[in-house]
């Protein structure tokens, strides 16, 4: 069969399947059906992709994410599912080594999807049919139609009998259309178009292979290049440096000057960071104590964001100095030592930020942002190691970003294997006597955490009420407000479940549903 015809059939079938399994449903077991179709179609259209090790590894990550969509049904698992699916398609359709470039190619697929779909139609089109008569008819009809409308409106207002007849016809048309629209949903038609766009974006390879062509010129190993002053001046970065450094940036000694500036900068930055690290080692690592009366966030949490920014900025500074020929400069020994010291010191700073986060978790329990900081620090550590490797073995920024992207994907996929909401609730509730619990936050967690909250809610409410009494809180008494709130959440969950079919089945919802079926809703507490 003609391959273009196969593409049309597959994309259309995918859109119909999308419409059938996802309409008014959530991403759950239905995702398995749609994904099985998409992957089969993808490997049918691009059979060579099955031989690629990268595609196979990505496929493994994608299947883990898919499993987690069915088991945990968290937003994170859904995001990971989408990202890994796009990457599988990107690596299957194009020649790539970097996830960034594969992502770019998939973006191109999305932008070009309509043209790619049209292309399959155009190639399949046989002899052009003569439709000149229809076009001519439309052109002839435009002005008479406009005149007809204008005079129809005038006569309708002028003549009551004519107006009555017109109104009756109008009413009949209205009834016909309302019945027609009841049967035929416009939203569903648009949803079908969305399915067509999504399936087409994944299955149809764009003719613009800009990103894969660009990547073929990229290397992991840095190569020394000689550039004329004119070539250098065409770059915005060089113009900026020249503006600050003047002739020192463009003369014979430019590389030496850059090396000297780099050494001075790194020495000063290292000294400054050493002071900060010494304070942190003394205050956080060795002699940390929660001070009574002083909120923990004042002690440890404030400034964490700035420290994270400083670490990222530090990596950017190193990338700036080791971007080009300074890597090959014979006397760059001290610059390299400065960079290594700077990396080690930043790794210490990462540990300090980790400790800050840890102390905060010990006092206030887990929360999204606190877990996010841990993952971010892990990524930063990977980043620092790769920056070290880049300088040590003269690697390109392409290598750096490529390796970090893969690390990011691995971390993302691994992170989906935990239901974080349930984990947070479990961790915090287990330590309810030692941790300052944020009950409204716990009540905002996803449905999977409801059973855990349900078993602890009476104790939580009592604890909150006792705390208010002890603190002589001026706020109005709220003896059962948390219980009421949880009751609302449970009712909302039950209501939501009523609208869903087996297509939205997932283990997380099933677990919660079973719990309430077995135990009964919280109304029994009253």
């Amino acid at each position: 069969m003609n391959k273009d015809l196969v593409k049309i059939i597959l994309v259309t079938a995918g859109a119909v399947l999308f419409n059938l399994v996802f309409w008014n449903e959530k991403l759950a077991i239905n995702t398995v059906l749609f994904d099985a179709f998409l992957l089969s179609a993808l490997f049918f259209l691009y059979p060579d992709a099955r031989k690629s090790a990268t595609v196979n590894w990505l496929l493994l990550g994608h299947l883990v994410s898919l499993t987690m969509v069915v088991i945990h049904n968290t937003d994170l698992s859904k995001i990971s599912f989408v990202i890994t699916l796009l990457l599988v398609a990107g690596f299957a359709e194009y020649t790539h080594r970097s996830a960034w470039f594969a992502g770019g190619s998939m973006l191109m697929n999305v932008v070009m999807v309509v043209a790619s779909f049209g292309e399959s139609f155009t190639i399949n089109k046989r002899k052009p049919t003569k439709r000149k008569g229809v076009g001519r008819f439309i052109r002839f009809a435009i002005f008479p139609l406009i005149l007809l409308i204008v005079f129809f409106l005038i006569y309708r207002d002028a003549n009551n009998a004519f107006s009555d007849i017109a109104n009756r016809i109008g009413a009949q048309l209205e009834i016909f259309f309302s019945h027609f629209f009841d049967f035929f949903s416009f939203q569903r038609l648009l949803f079908l178009l969305l399915g067509l766009l999504i399936t087409g974006s994944i299955l149809l390879k764009s003719k613009l292979d800009y990103f894969s062509t660009r990547e073929t010129h990229m290397n992991d190993g840095l190569q020394r290049s000689r550039k004329s002053l004119r070539q250098k001046r065409s770059g915005a970065m060089f113009q900026f440096i020249e503006m600050i450094m003047g002739k020192m940036a463009s003369g014979m000694m430019a590389l030496k000057n850059e090396n000297t500036t780099g050494i001075i900068s790194l020495v000063l930055l290292n000294v400054l960071l050493l002071v900060v690290n010494c304070i942190d080692v003394n205050f956080l690592w060795l002699h940390f104590q929660y001070k009574p009366g002083l909120p923990v966030y004042k002690m440890v949490h404030e400034g964490t964001e700035l420290l994270i920014v400083s670490i990222v900025l530090a990596m950017a500074i190193l990338l700036f100095y080791f971007k080009g020929n300074l890597n090959f400069y014979k006397r760059n020994k001290w610059l390299k030592y400065g960079a290594y010291a700077w990396i080690i010191q930043n790794a210490m700073l990462v540990s300090s930020v980790f400790l800050r986060d840890y102390y905060y978790i010990l006092k206030h329990g887990l929360a999204y942002k606190r877990i996010g900081v841990l993952f971010f620090l892990l990524m930063v550590l990977v980043g620092l190691v790769t920056v070290f490797l880049k300088i040590w073995s003269r690697r390109t920024n392409y290598f750096l970003f490529r390796v970090n992207a893969w690390a990011g994907i691995v971390i993302l996929v691994l992170a989906t294997t935990i239901h974080w909401d349930e984990f947070i609730a479990g961790y915090n509730l287990k330590r309810k006597n030692t941790v300052d619990l944020d009950v409204p936050f716990l009540l905002s967690l996803s449905d999977k955490a409801l059973p855990l909250l349900d078993t602890n809610i009476v104790a939580l409410q009592k604890r909150e009420n006792d705390a208010r009494l002890q603190n002589h809180d001026s706020q109005p008494a709220c003896d059962t407000c948390y219980i009421e709130e949880l009751k609302q959440r449970e009712l909302q969950f039950v209501e939501k479940q009523k609208d869903l079919t087996w297509l939205s089945w997932n283990y997380a919802d099933s677990y919660t549903r079973k719990y309430f079926r077995k135990k009964g809703l919280i109304t029994s507490i009253q």
Partner: protein, 144 residues
């Protein structure tokens, strides 16, 4: 010599005419009629006047479609789609400016509106295909 601006102007003018035609049909369907003629007249004048800055956006989209390495018909489909996206973004922008929160296409009316934009764009571009294809031909020959 045909330019992207002239093609864009044709598409834009046809879009406006079609939009007015839809208003007129809606007028016929409604029971009150006197104001409809006035409204059509106003829409005809104001519509062209208010939407004329859109040419600044439509013209580059037409130009960009000419640069795509696809067949003419595919480029035309691409153009229709991106004109739809442009009108959709304007619609969302206007709703947000009016203080309305946009939660996607929820109601039947919104879906109908979106589909009508697609149909109007399809007709407007399809009926301009002669000059559009001529423009594409020019772009192709300039590349050669």
């Amino acid at each position: 010599m045909i330019t992207s601006v002239s093609v864009a102007a044709r598409i834009w003018a046809k879009t406006n005419f079609l939009a007015i035609l839809i208003i007129a049909i809606a007028g016929i369907m409604s029971k009150e009629g006197g104001w409809v003629i006035l409204f059509i007249g106003l829409a005809l004048i104001l519509g062209f006047f208010i939407t004329s800055p859109l040419l600044i956006v439509i013209s580059p989209i037409v130009k960009l479609s000419g640069a795509l390495p696809y067949t003419r018909q595919s480029r035309m489909f691409w153009l229709i789609f991106f004109l739809f996206i442009m009108y959709w973004l304007i619609f969302i922008g206007l709703r947000l400016m009016a203080g309305d929160r946009y939660h996607g296409i929820v109601s039947k009316e919104e879906a109908l509106f979106m589909l009508s934009i697609i149909v109007v764009q399809f007709i407007a571009v399809r009926t301009t295909r002669k000059s559009l294809y001529k423009f594409y031909e020019q772009v192709e020959s300039s590349h050669v």
